[in-house]
Amino acid sequence: MKGYQEYFLRKLGWFLITFVFAFLLNFILPRMMPGDPVAVITQRVTQGMTSQTGVAKIYQEYSELFGTNKPMLEQFFLYVKNVSQGNFGISFSQYPRPVAEIIKSSIWWTVCLQFPAIIVGWLIGNTLGALAAYLKGGFDKVIMPVSIFVSNFPAFGMAIIMVVIFATTLKWFPISGGYGFDQIPNMSWTFVWSVIVHYQLPFWSIVLISIGGQAIGMRSMSIYELNADYVKYSRFLGINDRKIVGYVFRNAMLPQVTGLALSIGTMVGGALVAEIIFSYPGLGNTILKAVVGQDYPLISGVTLIITLMVLSANFIIEIIYGIIDPRIKATQAD
């Protein structure tokens, strides 16, 4: 277990470092705005406001909230203290709801939509890619161009096409939302059914998008492995083809797991935009609302949470990779 423990600790350390760095960026980037950030925010919030005392009050409130009248270091510690208590401030656009509460109400929609979809897309994509590499011929000739096309298609484009075909034209599924607009979230069957029905289109559009890229990657990895010397030698020895293919795909799979860890950030980004097309009640729509409402605390909170989500997903994949990669186990034998 020693080899794995070391691997685990190294990955954990890396996770912490990246998080601290992301946290710093989240703190610094908005403060690098030219001029006084609070003045800029106040000006945006108070557009069209005529009451001078009101503007002054808002300015005072935000400079207190961000602590911009204090030195940078003190500001930073204030920010750390607030965030560690789960206090992201009060939303501008949905006043007086706290940012933490808005995030809490939307994050599960995103998590339950995106991660299953990405994993299912990854599995299907890898299977198709491996089959394309192994079967070659007609199957490959169809799968490859389609995969290239689909993988370069933006997730929101796929979302729109799904809406147009299955919601507005065929009317099989609802157009938008996370559940019927005539319902209140509860544990009844009608509500659960409504959630399931609303789940289908966003889910499959993300799945379809992630299939393409994975299939292409898996195909080239498998072709590479199929041409490797050990395969030729095994064939020469007369080992059953099925057995060889098993080895080939296990070997080709490992880089695909790493690939998933590296690309999960981009995938989540694309899927967040797709959520907007479906007006799904997740984080994508929260960002849109925050942008439209010039809601600075909400943007800052949501981006931090998304970063944390992506980093954790990344960490989990790395941990799983450590378990399935025989080379990491092998180090403990040394």
Partner: protein, 415 residues
């Protein structure tokens, strides 16, 4: 070099991608030379005019009229107002009014209209919702005189007496030659929610988006290439530092940075080029990683060592002995960066963080407008399908070129 180009153009994937891309590029360059309209000029009053040829009614009244006796003209005129659905709706009303079913023949125009004109009364509710009643009122109005054979009189109001003076009359067999009508506007893709010509807008948007892609791609590639070269060639501490930063930005999602920076810059300061620069600065990571690993494998080749022994400077070695070997790779990375830059702009614009909307359209902004005005729900396909197709074509053609190049330079991937 010539040999290599020949080989590249023999790859069918590259060739298809290249043709699509060049066609788009040429369209973007040539179209504005022919159609000199402002891309954001609002020409239509109202939203989402359907694609088609718009003929000025006033001008066609005043141009020469030709008489054509076409047998199906009347039938078509009736069919355009009195479709199957309308006939069924009329039957419903008549039934509700109390006409026995066997008296209603919805396939006989004359009888049906006679029944309708004799019985329809817009004041009767007959237990219908007011939306339904309004629908019947509209239907009745559009059916007025549909079976008539008399023409229409065009008259001008005399400004002094206020009387109408006949100037022209039109009979049902009058035709105009479209070539003689002085004002016609072809809107191949209709208009958008603001009443702007979508085709002109789309061409301009494609150009801006390609510019954004190029700027973002070139910036990202330059940063990635420089960092990758230094990290790979110099190694040691420089490598460690650069790789630390690169690994950080690999896991910290780029679009989060994009959102934060774009939001911080603010709507007024965000021009198309600013957005492109921001995208460029957040997407260099992959190029840096790839270039570095290539350089590491090149670093100890004989010709590099020889160059080192000959006392060439680091810059010279990098430029003359390393860069040529990774050039193909860098070009492939650049192509992908351009395509992903265009997609990144589109994503940002849908979030409302795209370039400011008053100057130039971009593909993302057009998408954003179509979505805000729910074009996809109301079936106004011309507002978003052409945009989506353009985005898909740009990125598909670039990726085809990339795959083609990949197969030329990596023989293992060839079929």
């Amino acid at each position: 070099m010539k040999n290599m180009l020949q080989q590249i153009f023999r790859s069918s994937k590259f060739l298809i991608g290249f043709t699509i891309f060049m066609t788009m590029l040429l369209t973007v360059i040539i179209y504005p030379l022919i159609v000199k309209d402002e891309p954001l000029a609002i020409i239509g009053q109202g939203t989402f005019f359907e694609p088609g040829i718009y003929v000025n009614v006033f001008d066609s009244i005043n141009s020469t009229h030709y008489t054509l006796s076409l047998n199906d003209a009347a039938a078509r005129r009736i069919a355009s107002k009195l479709g199957d659905q309308e006939r069924l709706d009329m039957k419903d009303w008549l039934l509700a009014f109390g006409i026995p079913e066997n008296e209603i023949d919805i396939h006989d125009n004359t009888k049906l209209m006679e029944l309708w004109v004799n019985n329809y009364d817009s004041k009767l509710a007959l237990g219908m919702t007011s939306a339904k009643r309004n629908y019947y009122a509209r239907l009745d109005k559009s059916l007025k005189g549909i079976l008539g054979t008399e023409g229409v009189i065009i008259a001008i109001k005399n400004t002094e007496t206020g009387l109408l003076e006949e100037t022209n009359s039109i009979v049902q067999t009058d035709y105009v030659n479209i070539g003689q009508v002085s004002s016609i506007r072809i809107l191949p893709l209709g208009t958008d929610n603001f009443g702007r010509d979508i085709l002109t807008e789309l061409v301009s948007a494609t150009r801006t988006s390609l510019q954004i892609g190029f700027v973002a791609g070139i910036i990202a590639t330059l940063i990635g290439l420089t960092l990758g070269l230094f990290a790979g060639y110099i190694g040691g501490l420089v490598d460690d530092v650069i790789m630390f930063i690169t690994n950080l930005f690999t896991v910290i999602p780029g679009f989060v940075l994009l959102i934060l920076i774009s939001f911080s810059i603010g709507q007024e300061q965000r021009g198309a080029i600013t957005v492109a620069v921001v995208i460029g600065f957040t997407s260099w990571v992959w190029t840096a990683r790839a270039v570095r690993s290539q350089v590491v494998s090149l670093r100890n080749r004989d010709h590099v060592n020889l160059s080192k022994l000959s006392g060439h400077s680091i810059v010279h070695i990098i430029l003359a002995d390393i860069l040529p070997y990774i050039a193909s790779y860098v070009i492939m990375a650049l192509i992908l960066q351009i395509s992903s830059g265009i997609l990144a702009e589109a994503g940002l614009s849908i979030l409302g963080l795209g370039p400011k909307t008053t100057e130039v359209p971009t593909l993302g902004l057009m998408m954003n407008w179509a979505m805000i005005y729910s074009a996809h729900v109301t079936g106004k396909w011309w507002a978003y399908i052409p945009v989506l197709v353009t985005i898909a074509m740009v990125s598909f053609s670039m990726n085809l070129m990339n795959t083609g190049l990949d197969q030329v330079f990596n023989p293992a991937l060839r079929d």
